[in-house]
């Protein structure tokens, strides 16, 4: 076999062979004002992993939109939450979506969780020239199913902008509102009743919405949640059976539930 032949099941090498790389990072003297997307977080709850994000994107002091979906279903068992520059992050999500499905269909088996985790690290490393210039920086969160457990166990990973990957034991947050959210999650995990890891879906969703409400009080780039304008978060859960979306209607219902 030729060394130039694409690696079996690897979508990026297929694109490279056809001279269609997903993005080309070129050095630039000056950076434009960038659209930024914050805030995202994930935590283990009683039924799996909950991953959530507000829906605001900003550029400097300008609110670009309050309708961004920052928690993206990559495939039936993987979630990506993006914090940073959406232009780069959405492209990474698209590469991962196509790559994971390409591998599954062409090799007739799903990609393992470690390989999925590394695939995102690889994209972050390939984005290094942009990161070093301070533009196109992405600090994502990833959740996937670990099939070495039976039933498969949802796991959370986070990354630094250079591509280092870390596993989150209880919770993780990224983006400009993450400081507030991590503090509350830490407090709740140590002293809360119930702790996030013991919550059911309704409790976990209500807790997640409240986290964003508080974060938005301290961080103007976090959009928060406003039931009066029907502005909710993007929330998805990963159970041992796969990914499920939590709709705006469900969020409204859970938020109004009495304790």
């Amino acid at each position: 076999m030729s060394s130039e032949a694409p690696m079996a099941g690897d979508f990026l090498s297929l694109l490279a062979g056809r001279k269609l790389p997903p993005w080309r990072a070129e050095p630039s003297a000056s950076a434009p004002v960038q659209t930024q997307a914050t805030t995202v977080f994930a935590f283990h709850f009683g039924e799996g992993v909950l991953m959530a994000g507000d829906r605001r994107a900003t550029a400097g002091n300008v609110i670009v939109t309050d309708r961004v979906d920052k928690v993206i279903e990559i495939d039936a068992t993987s979630l990506l939450a993006i914090a940073g520059v959406p232009a780069t992050a959405f492209e990474m999500a698209r590469v991962l979506q196509t790559s994971f499905e390409y591998y599954r269909r062409s090799q007739l088996q799903p990609l393992s969780l470690p390989a999925k985790v590394r695939a995102l690290a690889r994209l972050l490393r390939e984005n290094l020239p942009m990161t070093m210039q301070g533009i196109g920086v992405v600090a994502p969160l990833f959740a996937g199913l670990d099939h070495s457990f039976s039933p498969p166990k949802p796991q959370i990973y986070f990354y630094d902008p250079l591509g280092a990957q870390f596993q989150a034991v209880d919770y993780v947050a990224s983006g400009s509102g993450s400081g507030t959210i991590r503090s509350i999650l830490s407090f709740q995990e140590q002293y809360g009743n119930p702790r996030p890891s013991q919550m059911n879906l309704a409790q976990a969703v209500k807790f997640a919405l409240r986290l964003l409400m508080v974060a938005s009080e301290f961080d103007s780039a976090t959009g928060g949640v406003n039931p009066a304008t029907e502005t909710y978060a993007t929330i998805r859960v990963l159970r041992s059976t796969g990914v499920e979306a939590v709709t705006d209607e469900q969020q409204s219902k859970f938020l109004n539930l009495k304790p």
């Binding site: 979508f11 269609l20 495939d75 499905e101 390409y102 269909r105």
Partner: protein
């Protein structure tokens, strides 16, 4: 020199005969468009007859496993490249086959010093409505026929294939359930493999059902299902006989 064109024609005719001979005895593949989705069915050794290609596309066929694999891989490569560089909605069966697979099959078949593909294939695309379902029959020489909805059969010989298709189209009319559709597809599969007639003299339903049950012992009934409505982009799933109550 004057005899060269004649030699080429003779060589191509010989190849056609050779391919048909090689495909003889291959296990037929069948597809049916139903109200909730498209069924594909084959009986083989497992992951060898029915395959997912893309979000709304699937393939089933008979032939040499290595050749089916080459076609499958080429279709998957083309579909994913198209989806990534344009959009998943732009992946279409017409373009995939008309501009990709068919010319390649034709070229391989007519270049008499290369090996022809030993395949007979069915490709399907699920639409928003039954009328927009696309079923495509692709032959080893690159020839293909499209059809909106209905039933499609890929067998090694054209006459029994047409008879099975016509019988299934009548038998499946007004039937929407997956269970009864799979049962009928398996009855047609059994009649094809046992060279039973589809007109006068077709075995009774009980015999056909007993026939396919006996003939599939020790083999894998591969069932692919493309759902018309799904919360996810990927519509394909594999089913077992037990899952659909057979």
């Amino acid at each position: 020199m004057t005899e060269e064109p004649y030699r080429w024609l003779e060589a191509v005719a010989n190849r056609r005969e050779y391919v048909r001979d090689q495909l003889k005895g291959g296990s037929p593949a069948l597809a049916a468009s139903l109200s909730d989705g498209i069924l594909l069915l084959g009986v083989g050794g497992g992951q060898s007859k029915v395959f997912e290609l893309f979000d709304r596309h699937a393939l089933a066929g008979l032939g040499h496993p290595a050749d089916i694999e080459k076609i499958r891989q080429a279709a998957i490569d083309a579909a994913h490249t198209e989806a990534f560089t344009r959009a998943p909605e732009d992946v279409s069966l017409r373009r995939l086959v008309g501009f990709g697979l068919s010319p390649q099959l034709k070229t391989n078949f007519e270049q008499i010093f290369t090996a022809p593909f030993l395949v007979e294939l069915l490709l399907v695309e699920i639409g928003a409505e039954v009328e927009k379902d696309l079923l495509l029959r692709l032959h080893f020489d690159g020839a293909f026929q499209f059809q909106s909805g209905g039933v499609m059969v890929a067998a090694s010989l054209p006459e029994p294939e047409t008879a099975a298709k016509e019988w299934l189209a009548r038998a499946l009319a007004q039937k929407t359930g997956r269970r009864e559709a799979v049962d009928l597809l398996l009855q047609a599969w059994w009649c094809l493999t046992e060279n039973k007639p589809f007109g006068e003299g077709i075995p009774g339903e009980a015999d056909r059902q007993a026939g396919w049950r006996a003939a599939t012992q020790g083999r894998v009934v591969e069932i692919g299902w493309l759902a018309r409505k799904s919360p996810r982009p990927a519509r394909y799933e594999t089913l077992t006989l037990a899952q659909i109550g057979l």
